[in-house]
Amino acid sequence: MTATLSRRARLNEVLADHATAVLGVVLVVLVLLTAAVEPSYLSVTGLRNTLLIAAPLGIMAAGQTILMLTGGIDLSVTMIATGAAYVAGNQSPRGAVIAMLLGLLVGVVAGAVNGIGVGVFRVNPLIMTLAMSAILLGLFTQWAQTILQGSTAAAPLIKTLGGGSFADNLIPYAVVIWALLSAGLLLLLHRTGLGRMIYGVGDNEMALRLAGVRPWQIYLTVYVLAGVGAAIAGILLAGRTGAVDLQLASAFLLPSVAAAVIGGTSIFGGVGGYSGTIIGALILSVLNSMLTFLDVGQGLQQIVYGSIVLTLAWAYASLTGPAGGAGGAGWGR
């Protein structure tokens, strides 16, 4: 009995130490399963389509990851993304570059307001971003009939960035943007002082404060970064779909949180990183493709998606941490 237990414990330890590898295996299995459902999936086109879905999700989840590292969360990412996309689409006649900059401005402003609320006024991140989401939805619904009236067709350049590819139609531009942003974020988190402080503020804010850091500056920075990330993701989505409506990114909220959680970032702060989130985003995108191929109807699709996300999060939690227990995890410990 003890022998089997210890062997099992050791296996768990090995798996927990190589959690990213385990996630990679899950990803490969999902790709193969999808190929079993639809053999043509294992082709350049099939994989490229998955990557095209994964890029905006991965960028949105990047914001979610750094916020979670500080102990925060952003439930307004989808509305920021939608708003940015709407502005970028609507302002396209002014030229693609200006339109995209205006779109990014939406992310900066909304992120900064979130950051001030959370960092300076100490509003609970959940409430702050929920309210921000409601405010943005109201504002953009109104603006769609007034100052942002008219066409929302994206400019050709935005369409190329969001849905086009180069090198013999092999590599989508969106994926290149995602890769560049990922590299930047990984450098930021692991090679800079700000990166250490992001982990620090989520791990022990009091210690950081006593060391002379002003935590509100860090909160402001991460919320602005997350807002910009959401805006970029929204603009890429607008490019992929061609035209924008106010429901554009609404389906991305659960995936953006789930990609980070599946990838091993703790919602309580201080633990995790972006490399896991990348694999999480890829897993969810493959899952999405698989469910589309299965063609089971929207209802069943949602049920399967929710169940699998829950199962993966559960499996990851039981693999890496002491689950349950009297003092086990609970929201807002």
Partner: protein, 337 residues
């Protein structure tokens, strides 16, 4: 949201400080509601039982949802799937109750409330078993509930008996001026749950668990049971909310966005009503006032001839300002002590 900053540093002062402060917040929110009502009555040409009936009736679904969310948040959790559960209950009821006699619809209602409690109790069980944070679990179960709702009722439709509509709304059709049934239906569940939370052993266990899980465990509280109970009560209230919706609208609507909006509003109502998201404080009665205020902003702003989309902005802005004010006060208090 009040006093958390200060009292967490002085545990001994908790008992003497917290209760008056909290009751003051609850009283303040109800007072705000009364002031708004008074103001509203001057805004429109005639204010009477018809308007009162319309307000109590239409704020009912959100009020029920806020009660459920309050119980879960007080116990230290948060449920982002309550709105989806409302939609599921609404779709199920509209599908099953269509062209049924009153007695059958009543029996179905009891069954649906029970099912809601069991289903969400299971969510609570998953939360404690898995160690996955409440937010993540309930975001995922929200997808499952709304997927089920789509399977049960693929497009808006269905119906219920006239008697069932009468029970909730005081009229057989969509509008009437008898406000007593809806007022009673609003107050009775609130009083029952509030009494259970404050004066029953299990209710106090929820407060204890949400306030300090380890301390509660060491004092002999079954913290796991407390969480499951909280989620089950939340599920029952979400189911009731779906039933109220079918009674008010006379049909079911399985759309995902309805549930998502309802969830956001329930969290906002709870926070406005003085329930801290950190758990262990606040009251169900305050949450109900928060819910009615949130709904009530719509007719007020439309009476002021303001665009309905602005109403949403004002709602969000109000929540942010209230929370910023509360956070600011809490910081000042913790600095001065």
């Amino acid at each position: 949201m009040n006093a958390t900053g200060a009292s967490s540093w002085h545990p001994a002062a908790n008992l003497t400080q917290r209760w008056p402060v909290q009751s003051a917040w609850t009283a303040l929110v109800w007072l705000l509601l009364l002031v708004l009502l008074g103001w509203y009555s001057t805004l429109i040409p005639s204010f009477g039982s018809f308007q009162l009936a319309s307000i109590t009736k239409n704020s009912m679904p959100l009020a029920y949802l806020a009660i459920g969310q309050a119980v879960i948040v007080i116990a230290g959790g948060i449920d982002l799937s309550l709105g989806a559960l409302l939609v599921l209950s609404n779709s199920l009821a509209a599908q099953l109750m269509f062209e049924q006699p009153f007695s059958a619809t009543l029996a179905l209602a009891v069954l649906i409330i029970g099912a809601g409690a069991v289903a969400n109790g299971a969510v609570g069980w998953i939360v404690i078993r898995s160690g996955v944070p409440d937010i993540v679990v309930t975001l995922a179960t929200g997808f499952i509930w709304s997927g089920l709702a789509l399977l049960i009722l693929p497009s808006p439709g269905g119906g219920t008996s006239e008697g069932f509509r009468l029970l909730f709304t005081g009229s057989r059709f969509s509008s009437g001026s008898n406000f007593w049934p809806s007022t009673l239906m609003l107050i009775v569940p609130m009083v029952l749950v509030a009494y259970g939370m404050r004066h029953r052993r299990q209710g106090l266990a929820l407060y204890a668990t949400g306030s300090d899980r380890n301390a509660a465990y060491l004092s002999g509280v079954d913290v796991r049971r407390a969480k499951i109970v909280a989620y089950a009560v939340g599920g029952a209230m979400a189911a009731l909310s779906g039933l109220a919706t079918v009674a008010i609208t006379g049909s079911g609507d399985p759309r995902f966005s309805i549930g998502a909006n309802a969830t956001l509003n329930s969290v906002a109502a709870v926070v406005l009503g003085g329930v801290a998201l950190t758990g262990g404080t606040g009251s169900v009665v305050g949450a109900v006032a928060g819910a009615i205020i949130l709904f009530f902003l719509n007719p007020i702003l439309s009476a002021m001839r303001i665009d309905p989309n602005t109403a949403q902005v004002v709602q969000g802005g109000l929540i942010v300002i209230v929370m910023m004010g509360a956070g600011f006060l809490a910081q000042r208090r913790s600095r001065s002590t």
